[in-house]
């Protein structure tokens, strides 16, 4: 018997005896979640670029490409292709101009400020030939693209806050109070599109929406709000391409 197996047996027996004394046992668990998309046919991924708008303070196209590439490099088995970020707005406008010459289709808005403006640009994802050509250029990877709206947002209304007061005995206590507040922040609404680099067809798409609001007096840089919001939805994005583990606790009973 090795020392290691001896220790294991003793610890299991000790645990067995300990369990005889209590009825609840909180244990940490890691639940594996399978990827939403079957990527076994791909060894490489190209985060191509995004149609982005809403705020001039953050270049959501560049920042999103950079963030997703770095996340996939460390948290997925796919090899991330390093390539120039596509200026998708310009590409979409060019494609729209070419199409307008042939038909009566309306042009695309120059400035993207709302979700409606972004929707007009979504035609670019239906251009199968374009994505197929791009796929050929990079040896048929999985292509990740989409739209990103990162826009300032403000809302006023009543919020519940904790207020510290002293009771009749001089003790400090907290009381919930409802106060009217002006708050401002940002909305992040990305739509991720997953395109097959061999055929140019969209395999899957997913839309998220996150928002953050601060006290109107608080001055939070737009870039840090962008990362705060992206941080919330990254696990969901990563779970599209790779298995994830969700940590939690459960109670075992005797």
């Amino acid at each position: 018997m090795t020392a290691r197996s001896g220790v294991l047996i003793v610890s299991v027996l000790a645990g067995f005896l300990a369990t005889a004394c209590t009825s609840f046992y909180e244990v940490p668990i890691e639940t594996p979640i399978q990827p939403k998309l079957d990527v076994t046919n791909y060894s490489r991924v190209l985060i191509a670029g995004f149609v982005a708008g809403g705020s001039d303070e953050v270049d959501a196209n560049i920042e999103t490409v950079r963030l997703l590439r770095s996340q996939l490099r460390s948290k997925s088995d796919l090899r991330v292709i390093e390539a120039d970020v596509l200026p998708l707005i310009e590409i979409a406008q060019e494609q729209a101009r070419e199409a307008a010459a042939d038909s009566e289709k309306p042009g695309l808005p120059d400035k993207i400020g709302t979700e409606n403006d972004l929707e007009a640009y979504e035609r670019v994802f239906a251009n199968v030939d374009y994505w197929k050509r791009l796929g050929e250029e990079y040896q048929n990877p999985l292509i990740v693209t989409g739209t990103i709206l990162f826009a300032p947002h403000q809302r006023s209304g009543f919020v519940t806050r904790e207020r510290e007061v002293y009771d009749q005995f001089g003790r400090r206590v907290t009381q919930p109070v409802r106060t009217y507040m002006e708050r401002k922040g940002f909305i992040l609404r990305p739509k991720f599109m997953f395109i097959d680099g061999r055929t140019g067809a969209t395999l899957y798409s997913e839309t998220f929406r996150e928002e953050v609001l601060y006290n109107a007096q608080q001055n939070t840089p737009a870039l840090s709000s962008y990362f705060e919001l992206m941080d919330r939805l990254l696990p969901n994005f990563l779970n599209t391409l790779s298995a994830q583990k969700i940590r939690g606790t459960r109670i075992l009973l005797k």
């Binding site: 090795t2 610890s11 645990g15 459960r250």
Partner: protein, 118 residues
């Protein structure tokens, strides 16, 4: 392998040494307790086996089904986890601990279903 044999020998010794394990619930409870001890050390497959045995020995033992469900969750078998939680709640519908575990499970499972529906 050797450690596993020794572990099994230890279980057999424990089973034989305890005369109180004679009735069905006691026998099932011994399996449950051993399952908890090994689960706390991360040996979830062994724990799963113990809790499966416990439910076979005593099919009315809600705690065994609850633990079995937790093990299935840890191993990623969501269908079996759901059915084990539901069985546990069928036996003890007012058990708040089982209900709480089940609610946490549903949160993750719903998220998984939402993802695969898109």
């Amino acid at each position: 392998m050797r450690a596993r044999i020794l572990l099994l020998a230890a279980i057999v010794a424990l089973m034989g040494a305890a005369p109180a394990l004679a009735d069905v619930r006691s026998e099932a409870k011994a399996q449950v307790e051993f399952g908890i001890a090994v689960a706390q050390r991360g040996l979830w497959k062994e724990a799963l086996y113990r809790w499966e045995r416990a439910t076979e020995i005593d099919p009315t033992y809600a705690a065994a089904y609850n633990n079995l469900a937790v093990a299935y969750e840890q191993l990623g078998d969501f269908e079996k986890a759901r059915s084990a939680y539901e069985k546990a709640l069928e036996i003890e519908p007012n058990n708040l601990t089982i209900r709480q575990n089940y609610d946490l499970f549903k949160e993750i499972n719903d998220r998984k279903i939402r993802g695969s529906d898109r």
